[in-house]
C-alpha cells in the first residue's frame, strides 16, 4: 500500500498520570488509502481515540508523549510544530467527535462554527463562508439550511447536530476524515442515516475515512478494512470481508460472538469476551490478551505469557496460534 494517504508506523501514545505512565497506544501501524474506510474497533479503553487524536497532533504535549510516525500524504505529523498542524487540521484532515452536544460550542451558531474553519483555511469572505455553511448543511441533509444556519447547537436534535458536525468537518473537503464513534450517541435509525451519509459523501469526494467504533455492526455496514485493537495494540487486520468471515484472533472471535444479531432472542444475554482488559499502567508480558484467552493451552510452552506476538503486514492476526486457527 504505497499510495496510502494516511500511514501510521509504530505509533506510541503515553499519558503521564499521577499513578504512572498509561501506555494507551503501543506500537500501532496501519495505512488508509484514499477513498477507503478503515474501521478501528475495540473495547472501551483500547486506545482508539488516543490513536485518532494522535493523527491530528491534538495530544497535550505537557502530559502526553507521542512517538513513531504519522504521515499524511507524505507529511510527518508527529513532532511537527503547532502552526504547521493548524494549517492541516480542519483542512487536510478533519475529525468528527462522538458527543455532538459537548463537542460543539454552545456559544456560537452552527453556521459560525462551520464557516469559521472555511474562512481560516480558504481566506473566504464572511458572506462566502456563510453561503458555504448553508450549502454544507444542505449537503448533510438538514432541511431548510438557510433558516437553520443561525441556530445554536442546542436548537438542533442529536441527529441534526451530528450532521452539522460532519458538515463542519467536511467544509474544506479534507482528504482524511477521522470519525470517533460518530453514531454511538444516536438511536439505531439515525445511526444508519449518518453512516449512509458518510458513505455518500465519501463517494463524491474520495475522502479517506478512519471510523472508530466499538460496534462491529457499524464496521460491517460502512468500512472496507478493519483494525481490531486490544490494549493499545493491533490484534487483527484485514478487509471487512476477511475479518468478519474468517476471524483469526481469539479476541475477534469474542467480539463477533458478542455482536447483537437480528435473530438473537431479546432476552438472551450477549456473550461478551469474559474478563476485563488489562491495566495499561502495568501491561502484562507476552500477548496482552493471554489472561482472557481460552486458547493459550493450544500454543506450545509458555509463549503466550512471555513472547509478544507480532502482527504481520497486510492481512493477519497478532497471535501465536498457528495455521490451525479455528474457533
Amino acid at each position: 500500500m504505497d499510495d496510502a494517504f494516511l500511514s501510521v508506523r509504530d505509533l506510541h501514545v503515553r499519558f503521564r498520570t499521577e499513578d504512572g505512565t498509561v501506555h494507551a497506544v503501543d506500537g500501532l501501524s496501519f495505512d488508509v488509502p484514499r477513498g477507503r474506510t478503515l474501521g478501528i474497533v475495540g473495547e472501551s479503553g483500547s486506545g482508539k481515540s488516543a490513536t485518532g487524536l494522535a493523527v491530528l497532533g491534538l495530544h497535550d504535549p505537557r502530559t502526553t508523549t507521542v512517538t513513531g510516525s504519522v504521515r499524511l500524504g507524505g507529511q510527518e505529523i508527529t513532532g511537527a510544530p503547532e502552526p504547521v498542524l493548524e494549517k492541516l487540521r480542519g483542512n487536510t484532515v478533519a475529525m468528527v467527535f462522538q458527543d455532538s452536544l459537548t463537542a460543539l460550542s454552545p456559544y456560537h451558531t452552527v453556521g459560525h462554527q462551520i464557516a469559521e474553519p472555511f474562512r481560516k483555511h480558504t481566506g473566504a469572505s464572511r458572506r462566502e463562508a456563510r453561503q458555504r455553511a448553508v450549502d454544507m448543511l444542505g449537503k448533510v441533509g438538514i432541511p431548510h439550511p438557510a433558516l437553520r444556519v443561525d441556530d445554536y447547537p442546542h436548537q438542533f436534535s442529536g441527529g441534526m447536530r451530528q450532521r452539522a458536525m460532519i458538515a463542519m468537518a467536511l467544509v474544506c473537503d479534507p482528504q482524511l476524515l477521522i470519525a470517533d464513534e460518530p453514531t454511538t450517541a444516536l438511536d439505531v435509525t439515525v445511526q444508519a442515516q449518518i453512516l449512509d451519509l458518510l458513505k455518500d459523501l465519501q463517494q463524491q469526494t474520495g475522502t479517506a475515512i478512519v471510523l472508530i467504533t466499538h460496534d462491529l455492526g457499524v464496521v460491517a455496514r460502512t468500512a472496507d478494512d478493519v483494525l481490531v485493537m486490544y490494549a493499545g495494540r493491533a490484534a487483527e487486520r484485514g478487509t471487512v470481508r476477511d475479518v468478519l468471515r474468517t476471524p483469526r484472533h481469539p479476541y475477534t472471535w469474542g467480539l463477533l460472538g458478542s455482536m447483537p444479531r437480528l435473530w438473537t432472542p431479546v432476552d438472551q444475554p450477549l456473550t461478551p469476551v469474559p474478563g476485563a482488559p488489562p491495566s495499561l499502567l502495568t501491561p502484562p508480558p507476552g500477548c496482552p490478551f493471554h489472561p482472557r484467552c481460552a486458547h493459550t493451552e493450544r500454543v506450545g510452552g509458555d509463549r503466550c505469557r512471555t513472547e509478544r506476538p507480532e502482527l504481520p503486514p497486510g492481512r493477519g492476526a497478532a497471535c501465536h496460534l498457528g495455521e490451525e486457527r479455528t474457533r
Binding site: 505537557r62 492541516l88 487540521r89 460543539l104 460550542s105 454552545p106 456560537h108
Partner: protein, 325 residues
Amino acid sequence: MLRFLARRLLGALVITVLISAITFFLFFALPAEPALMSCGKNCTPDAVALINKNLGLDQPVPVQYWHYMAGIVAGRDFTVGHCPAPCFGYSFSNQQPVWGTIVDRFPTTLSIALGGAAVFLVVGTGLGLLAAAFRGTWIDKLFSSLSLVGNALQIYFVGVVALAVLVSGLHWMDNPAYHPITEDPVKWFTGMLIPWLVLSIIFIANYSRMTRSLMIEQLAEDHVRTARAKGMGRRTVFFRYAFRGALAPVVTLFGIDLGSLFGGAIITEFTFSLHGLGRLAVSSVSETDLPTLMGVMLVGCTAIVVANIVVDATYALIDPRVRLA
C-alpha cells in the same frame, strides 16, 4: 429580550414597593414620635401637634403610606408648600427635601461602586487569564501566592496604606474627592482612582482565582478540542471558545457579589470621608431622620434590583441557552 426586561422591571417594582411598605410600617411601629424628633429641644405640645398636622402624621399609618408613595410618583402638597415628584418628604434634621440630598449624594456612591467593579472585573479576569495561559509557570505561582495575600486584605487597612503611600508619601495621586463627571471628567477620574483601587483590591484575588480555574476547566472541554481540531489558532481557541465559556460563571459571581460591592463602596466612602449614600444613611440613623433613611433605603434597593436585572440580561447575552421569557 424586551419581554424579559418588561417582566423583570415589573417584578423589581413589586419588590421595591414591598420593601418600602415593610420599612415604612416598621418605622412607624417604633415607639419614638417622629414629630418630637423634628421639633427640636424647646418643644411645646402645640408645636408637636402642628408638626404632626403639617407632615400628615396625625393620619392612620396606611393612609400616610399611601400619601408617601403617591408623593414619590406625583409629588405632594404639604401645608408648608408643594414638594415636586419624586417627593420623599422633608428631612427632619435640616428640613430640606430628601430627594435633593439623595441626588446630591448618590453619584458618589455609584461612581465608587461602578468604577471599582470595572477595575476588579478587568484586572481580576485579566490576571486569571494570564495565570491560565501560563499555567504551572512562575507567573501562575506568583499570582496564586499574591491572591492569598489579596484575600486577607480589608478595605480600611488598604485605604489607609494607599493614602499614606500614594498620596502623602510619593505624591503620585490626589487626595480622594468627588467631582461630578459632568463638570470635570478628568478630576472625577483622578479623584476616584484611589477609592477604586482600594475597593477593587479585595475582589481582584477572588476573580482572578475563579477565572483561572474556570479557564482551565474550559480548555479541557470537548468543544474547545473541536475548535482545535478545526485548525483554529491558540489565541482564537483561548478567547473565542474557552473564555466565552468562562465568562458566564464570572457574570453569575458578579451578580452574587453586587451586595458586597455596594457594601464595599460604603466602607470605601467612610475610609476616604467621601459624602455618599452610606454616610447619609448612617447620619440619618443617628439623627433619627426617618424620611431621609426611608429615601436612602428605597433608592439603594432600587439600585441593587436594577443592577441585578442588568446582570441577568448580560448573562443571557453571553449564553444563548438561557431562555428569556
